[in-house]
Structures are given as structure tokens and as C-alpha cells.
Symmetry: C2
């Protein structure tokens, strides 16, 4: 049914996507609502503040945003870019409802797993609904009804729509918001092999898509978390504003996210004789967790790899900020009232000397209990973990810059902050099984479909790219999503006809360049400053040299270009710049 | 700032809206997901069932729908059509958040007014939110922040997005759903005159838009209800499936919706000597309402004009289905326990004879209380209304076919069911005042902006047009929104190259016709039936005559066309048909 790079044209013919000829011959900034420049620039302004100041969007409620015309135009370009690459893997576009039912999510056991991040509501008949944060349940139910034979597979369906997640701390504007736009693609195959083939095709399309955005990105091996499944990759934009960590090797191609990354274990002869302790509490508040790690300069609590600790202590609550106090108080109370058995779980990093390990196991180490605790060590049950289930010594510390790569001989690992822009998952039968999405394979043989899901954060790309490319003068955009590619700013004394002539010259006969004319009733310097703030990739100024010699000044901040260009040479010159953006 | 028919081009250049050349040269049905024909045709199938059966959409939850590729393609065409007409009145496109806050809606007193139709929810911090059913509050707040001077007006902003209304009885699919797509335009002006000018410009654009859809529509004077304001028109598609009533004159141009419509009062000499009673209860359950109307053949309870009754009895609850039983039981209980004063309100239609009016006023009419009531009339307070506040006699009956028009001498009124597709409101300062959306008019003089709002039901148009144009063979669509304009179906033995040649011939050099090739692995008769079900406006069949003489069969069900057409004549012939659709 599908051929890769297939030719079903889901996009509408031109007649439906452009306005009639008399309307489209000239795009002017005066004709749309651009409330820019209303805010003073702050000292350390992030991309989000710049987006607000330049008139792209506005916050309506905490973590919830209105898109203004400039932002919406950019968003639409990004959507069209995504459409193109989804079409290249033969995907069909749908639009699923935002309202979903809690009963449906109970069938996949995700109602509880998602917890307070789910926006829940009841309708007037008290039926429990939710605002979908993702659509595996809905699409699997839909496909289960409509697809019954392996002959209808492979099937690839995607949408670009609003998603809802009640973030505890929404921040940085559209980078982490509560109502946001996502592209989600779901693949359905008859066998694991076919599903993995789909997975690779989508990965290739993602690479082409991010290549076209011309932003640096890394593809990291990832864990699949609540979504389920067992093959997963994340697409990250390295950024100091990021909330994720990506680990990459400087020698081989190894890249992984923090949860999954591994480094070569430290050699035996570095065993540390002094210990520090990081303390945590179990989710059910019944035991204290001590993580023992070397007391050497440069190491601190923030180096503890809580993901690794959780693999040996599954009940650990790593999100409690004041865990010691809580446990001390709580357990003291508990022991008085209900005779609950107190327990201490020690996790000992592989770097610790055998002497220390022994004193921990034996209950004699002085740091076993928090300072100020009045508990009697001998009354507490002590458990000590020094190796994983597979018998590997514990590595309790996060990977740090300079750790050795396990995938090659000489590589050193680099750790950097990043923003996740996309994610691919092979889901297997995680959803098709509980939701009964089966196809007939042979006579009397039914099998659950093999699924994949593949997301791209549309709103988030806007926020991340804003952060990544902005400089002190304002925003900057890749050509692929800039609201306009070129702005023409006529100075004082320049005739309208001249501005229109430049406009037509730049747009070209094939209408390949997206040009806009700044015809607003503002001063020349104001418009130049505004063009920098908004981040038009290329600015064409018609100043005094235009009046005397028909020469424009072409500016491109990203390429550090400021050049006089004659009228006839404009198209070639501009196209050359655009090809680099 | 705006010129009517202005030229700011918000639509993206072709490069962003079409796929690369190698992808778009051929649109084939095999390349997208079209789960059609899965349901057997029912006897009395409505448009919604046809939409489901043809693969346009599917219900996900009661009153909530997923759009499938075919439906989404149509929806996108409709959106582009709306974009074009919004651009023609200089409107800028935005995209407002679906999440809104209850606190904001309290400021305009609409939180309570909307009642149970509002989907309400609390976030994890217990902040009360809602899913916006319309966006006056949000847009007014946004504009209040960003527009401060009359110099920035007029301002016209619109969006096309999802809206939420928790309908008591969602029905007929997307005709009355709980999550639906709407276009909403908001206008902001500095004076009433300017606002009325905006109102007229939008009305003209609406007429052009509905004209282009080529469906019959009526524009009715309307009441503005909860939205507020004092000038309002509704755009209706007459339809037996409609839930609204439109009254129009067969002689003059008078059209109004039922709430607002007036007919010439009946002449005096028709006064009826026999009475029937319609009974209702007050919202607070404290009084019974008797509406007295003539006991003549052809009149029934459904002829009672509850809108008219409410203007003289504001507390009437017209939605209670078994009002008599409720009041009888309720009041009986109440009178025992709390000594509440029982009250009876009589509304007497102008057609009743004076004798009857007197017996009602005097408490002697035998029908004053419901059959089976054990109450003593003499213990009940009786109030009788025979004229409106302005002194006009009461007309308790709905307008009926053949009533006399008040706007012309000879006209007779026609009453027909209709579906509301659009609505225009002049809002005045209904929202700008409470939300502080003021502009500076002169030095030290601020004034609230004069607003208008103008909706179009995007999902509803799809449902209404489906109902309106469907016949026993399947759906039918106007050219403007059909998923494709022409489908080419090659029969057995026809070479791929021939089908492609026909395709290219039809699309034309300017790509003016939206053609799709049915290249699916199904039989010729199956494809023809499917084409009728889906409702492609024009079907081009390549059968035996094609093989022998390069002659196609062109079918158009709406125009009752079935014609042999030679290859060379196809473009002219097809364009001629399309111009009528």
C-alpha cells in the first residue's frame, strides 16, 4: 500500500492554499497585526522573552499561550515542513479528538502512571474525561475498529495538534508549556521485522527534517519510560537552557541520554577510603536510602545518578527535596504509634574501599544515620547493596565530562544540556494487546499489530530555535521556518513603485522567495531595529545609495553580512545567502 | 491600517504549501488511508452516517469525533476558503488557547450564564479552568494589553480552532458535537459608526463566502442571547434536519429567526370560545404557568411560542418535560412542610373570548388546575396576564405557515427548519467595558472599544452540507470543499500510462483542477460505487470505449450528467461542469 517516498499528494493544490492573484501580489507588514516592541529588552533575556517582545506569542495563563500572526505564520511553515517529511514515509494525516475518556486510559494502565500531569474533567453526566497528552490509546482503538487484515498494513497515521500536560513547573514559554502543539505519528505493522523497518524509515525522515532545519542536533539512545516498548531514540538540540542531559563520545558515534548512558567503570586501584553519603527515602516512606560515594574534591550530591540507584532500589523517591528530615520525623512518629519496622538500605559505589563497605554492612559506620537523628542503629534493619542483579559493581555517579567511552578504545565522553525536540519509540504490542488491535495473519490466526510512535514538539522547536539562534540584537531563524525570508525596508524618499520593483525582483517569477515589504508608518531606524528583533533572515535596505545608484544594502546577521548589492544582482546574491540559512 | 479587499498575503508561498515536485505530480487514492465501505447502508441514513460510512470521520466518544484523511482534507479546503474571505476584510489570523480561566469568565458574568454547557476543570494546583466555548474574554484581554490608541484601530482578528460545549444532547454527528471547529472573528473599533461599518463589511464577506459554497442560505435577524449586544444576524441552511426555525416572507425580504420573528396579529373577530391550556413551571418551582390558547383543529402544544411567553413570564422554565407532575407533587409536599404561598400565573392569548378571560381571572374556569390535582383553587394566589408590558395583547402561538407579514402588505410567512452555519453580532462594549479594553481617543480621554464577533461553524458546515446534498447513492459536495474535484477510475485493461495521461490532461498546466486517480486494487464496479458514496463531484471512467476510441464516460450525479467525452474535449467539458458545482 505504501511506497517509501510515495507520491500521494495530501497537500492541497495551489488554488486552495494561496489567495486569488489580486490579493497575493504583495505582502506588506502594514496589513497584519504585529504588536512588536512593546516591552523593554531585559538584561539577560531568554528566547521566550524575545518571542513575546517581537510579537510572536503571548501568555494567556500560566504555561498556556496565544499565537499571534507572526508566530502562527512560523508555526504553519513548520507544520508544512513536517507534512512534507511525513508524506515521504507514506503517512496519512488525521486529526484526533483532544477529549479522551479515563476509562480508555485505564485499559492501558496509564491513567495512574501519568498521575497529576493529566488534566482530568467530568462532563455534565459525570463521565470522567481527560485532555489527551498523547494519543496511543485513541489511535489504537480507532485502528482496531477499521483494520482487520495484515493486507491493510503497513499503516502510518499522523496528526499535528494540541496536547495537554499539567506540568508542575511550566517554564521558558513554549519550551515547557501545558497546552502545546505536537506532531505524533503512529505506525502499524504485521510483524516485528516490518515494524523495525518502519522505525528506520521514520528515523531517516526525522534526520532529513532536522537537517532541513539546519540546526545542530544529536540523536541519543533513550529509555522508553511510561510509553512502553523497547527501542527508542531522542532528537536533541544541545542548549545551556535545556533540561535534559545528552552524553556523547568524542571518538566514536555513541550518543545516549542520561538515563541510558554508560561509561567505562573506574579501575580498581582508585578505591576511595573516605566516604560521603547521599540520602533518599522510599516512596512509601518506610525506609531510608544511603548512597555511599567517594569523598573527593569535585564530587557533589548533584553527581549522584538517581536513575542507576533506582535500578537497584526500585522504591526510591528521588523527587523529595528534604528527604532526611521527612524520614527522621516521619519514622520517629511512626515508631511510636505503630511499631513499624525501620529499615536502612545502603547502596555502595564501586569506588569505595572494602574497609568502608564492611563498616557499613556491619552497622558500625558513624554516618549511617543523619546528623541529629536520635534513633538507635541496633534497632534498625540494615540492608547493603554493592552490586546489581547481574552481579555488576554499582556505579552510583553520573557520567561526567572526560569519563571513558565503553564503545571504543580511546573515546572520552562529553556531557551537555539539551532540549528534546523529537522522540521515536518502537512500541511493539504495548497498546495493541490491551486494546485488542489485532489483524488476521492467516486463516484463524490473529495477531496484535506491532506499533511505533514518533513525536516532534512543534511548539518546542519554536522555543528551542529561538533560544539557540538569538543574539543580543534579537531573534534569528533558519530559512525553513522564518515567518518571512527577506524584509524590504524602503528609506525616506523612496517611491512605492521602487519598493514594489525590488519586491518583485526578489520574489522572482517562480515565487521561490518569501519576501515582505515593511510599509508601516514608522521611521527607517525603527524598522531596522524591529527587523533585527523579529529576526528576518535577510534585510534589504533602500537608502541613499538606492536613490543615487539603485544599490541596496543587504544585511544578514547570522552570516555577518552587510553588503551593497546592485538591483540586477539581488536575486543571485540573496539566493546564495538563503541557501546557507 | 486596513483596506477592504487589502493585499496582505497571510497565506504561505507555494513552496511551503505543496510538496516537492516529484511528490506532487500524481495524487492517488492508494497512497492514503481511506477506510471506506465498512458499514452497510441503513434504510433512512442521515448525512452523518454517510460521512462515517464513506470514511470522512469517526466518533471517538459521545459528541466527540476524529477526522480521517478524507474529512481532514475537506476541512482544510473549507479553512482555506474562510482564510481567503477573512483576508478580504483585512483580518489577521491568530490561534488562542483552548484553556481559559474561570476567574476571567466571572468578570463578564458568563461563568454562570453558560451553566452546564461549560466544560470546567481544575489544574493540579486547584486553579479553576475551563475549555473555551468561544473566545470573547480571551481576545478582549489580549487586545486590552496590546492596543492602547484609536490609531491602532480598526483591528480584526480571527482564528479557526477547536471549541468545547458540553451539549445536553449531542446529535447528528458534527452538526451538534461537544468538541468542534469554529471560525471566530473579532472586530475592534473606536466608535459605534466604525463598528457598524465593520459589521457590514463582514456581512458582505459572509455573503461572498456562502455564495462560493453554492448552497442555499437565508440571513435571519436574530437575538444576541448570552453573547450580548444589539445587532445580530444568523446564516441558515434550510434543512428538515435542522433544529432552528427560520421565518421568511414570500413577498418582501423579511427573514428572522423564531426568537425574533413577528407576524401580523389575528383580527379581532376570530376570538375563540373554547380554550386549551399549556402548562409550565417557574425555574424556582414556586408557581405554575397556564398558557391559554384556542381549542381549534390543527393547533397543539408544540405551537406555543415559549420565547414570547418568557418575555411576560421571565421565570418560566420551558425545558421541563413533565412540568405538571413535578409542580403538583412538589407543591403538595412544600405546602405541608413550609407554608409556601402557591401561585398560578395565567397567560391568555389574544384570540381567547372575553368570557373565558373573565372566568380565568375570576378563578372559576374548570381547567385552572391540572387533572388529578387535589389543591383548593381558593387557597392559591392567581395572577392573569393578557397583555405585554407595552400594552400589546399576547400572541402565545408560534408563527405558522401562512401567517401575515408585518413588513409588507400582501406577504405570507413561511416557517422552515434550518441549520445555523454562521452568526454575526455587534457587541458594542459588552466585553470591552468589564475587561477594561480601552483606547485613548484624545488627550486624557479613554473609551472602551466597540466590538463585534462573527462565527462560522466549520465542522457544522460539513455536517449540514452532507445532509443537504446527499442522495440515495451517497454524498455530494460543492466544488469549493469537495476532497477532490474529479476522480479518474481506470477499468480493466487500461494502461497506467493512459490513466496518467488523462490525469495530466485534467489537471491542466495551471493545475487548476484537483484530480485524484483511483489506483487501488479493487474492482471497477466497487470503485464506481465507492466514488458515489464518497461524493466526488465528477467521475471520469475509462472503460471499453477508452480502449477502442479514447473516449471517457463523465458522470456527475448532481447535474444528472452521464456523457461520453473524447480525450481532447475533456478539459473544457469538465471545467464547464465544475463551474456549476
Amino acid at each position: 500500500m505504501f511506497t517509501s517516498g510515495g507520491s500521494f499528494d495530501q497537500s492541497l493544490p495551489d488554488r486552495f492554499t494561496t489567495t486569488s492573484l489580486q490579493d497575493q501580489h504583495l505582502a506588506c507588514l502594514s496589513k497584519t497585526w504585529l504588536p512588536t516592541g512593546g516591552l523593554a529588552q531585559a538584561d539577560k533575556e531568554d528566547g521566550h522573552s524575545k518571542l513575546v517582545r517581537a510579537g510572536y506569542l503571548r501568555q494567556s495563563h500560566p504555561g498556556v499561550f496565544h499565537m499571534l500572526p507572526l508566530g502562527l505564520r512560523m508555526q504553519e511553515k513548520l507544520e508544512k515542513l513536517i507534512d512534507k517529511h511525513m508524506l515521504s514515509v507514506g503517512a496519512s494525516k488525521v486529526s484526533l479528538s483532544s477529549l479522551s475518556s479515563q476509562a480508555l486510559w485505564e485499559r492501558t494502565k496509564r491513567l495512574e502512571a501519568y498521575g497529576p500531569e493529566l488534566f482530568r474533567l467530568n462532563d455534565r453526566k459525570d463521565a470522567p474525561l481527560l485532555l489527551a497528552p498523547t494519543h496511543e490509546e485513541e489511535i489504537t482503538t480507532l485502528v482496531a475498529k477499521l483494520v482487520t487484515s495484515y493486507k491493510n498494513l503497513p499503516l502510518r497515521l499522523y496528526q499535528i495538534g494540541r496536547k495537554y500536560r499539567d506540568e508542575l513547573r511550566p517554564r521558558q514559554g513554549v519550551l515547557r508549556s501545558r497546552e502545546f502543539l505536537m506532531k505524533d505519528l503512529y505506525t502499524f505493522d504485521a510483524s516485528v521485522d516490518a515494524a523495525l523497518q518502519s522505525y528506520e524509515e521514520v528515523r531517516a525522515a526525522y534526520s532529513r527534517l532536522f537537517d532541513e532545519l539546519k540546526i545542530p542536533y544529536v540523536v541519543a539512545e533513550a529509555s522508553s519510560g511510561d510509553i512502553g516498548g523497547d527501542l527508542s531514540h531522542e532528537y536533541h538540540l544541545p542548549s545551556s537552557m535545556g533540561e535534559d542531559m545528552v552524553i556523547s563520545c568524542n571518538s566514536c558515534s555513541y550518543v545516549a541520554n542520561e538515563e541510558l548512558a554508560v561509561a567505562k567503570p573506574p579501575s580498581q586501584d582508585q578505591s576511595a577510603a573516605k566516604a560521603r553519603v547521599w540520602r533518599g527515602v522510599s516512596k512509601d516512606r518506610t525506609f531510608l536510602v544511603n548512597v555511599w560515594y567517594p569523598n573527593v574534591p569535585g564530587l557533589s550530591e548533584s553527581d549522584i545518578n538517581t536513575h542507576a540507584i533506582k535500578t537497584v532500589v526500585p522504591g526510591l523517591d528521588s523527587s523529595m527535596e528534604d528527604s532526611i528530615a521527612f524520614w527522621t520525623q516521619d519514622s520517629t512518629k511512626e515508631s511510636g504509634s505503630s511499631q513499624k519496622v525501620l529499615k536502612l538500605v545502603n547502596v555502595v559505589d564501586r569506588r569505595m574501599s572494602p574497609t568502608i563497605s564492611e563498616s557499613i554492612k556491619g552497622g558500625s559506620h558513624p554516618q549511617l544515620l543523619p546528623v541529629g537523628s536520635n534513633l538507635d542503629v541496633s534497632s534498625i534493619k540494615i540492608e547493603t547493596i554493592t552490586s546489581s542483579e547481574g552481579g555488576q559493581p554499582i556505579n552510583a555517579l553520573r557520567i561526567r565530562d572526560g569519563d571513558n567511552c565503553t564503545h571504543c578504545e580511546s573515546g572520552k565522553l562529553k556531557v551537555e544540556k539539551a532540549v528534546e525536540l523529537g522522540h521515536t519509540f518502537h512500541l511493539g504490542t504495548r497498546y495493541s494487546k490491551p486494546l485488542g488491535a489485532n489483524v488476521q495473519m492467516r486463516e484463524n490466526v490473529m495477531a496484535p499489530m506491532q506499533m511505533g510512535c514518533h513525536g516532534i514538539g512543534v511548539s518546542r522547536i519554536i522555543g528551542a530555535v529561538a533560544n539557540h539562534l538569538a543574539d543580543e540584537k534579537g531573534l534569528n531563524w533558519p530559512r525553513a521556518i522564518a515567518p518571512f525570508e527577506v524584509v524590504v525596508i524602503p528609506g525616506r524618499g523612496v517611491q512605492d513603485e521602487d519598493a514594489h520593483e525590488i519586491y518583485d525582483q526578489l520574489v522572482g517569477e517562480k515565487q521561490e522567495v518569501d519576501v515582505v515589504l515593511d510599509d508601516r508608518a514608522e521611521s527607517f531606524p525603527w524598522k531596522m531595529k524591529d527587523a533585527d528583533t523579529v529576526g528576518h533572515p535577510i534585510i534589504v535596505l533602500l537608502g541613499r545609495k538606492w536613490l543615487s545608484d539603485r544599490i541596496c544594502e543587504v544585511q544578514c546577521r547570522r552570516l555577518k553580512v552587510k553588503e551593497d548589492v546592485a538591483f540586477d544582482e539581488l536575486p543571485v546574491y540573496i539566493n546564495n545567502l538563503l541557501s546557507q540559512l
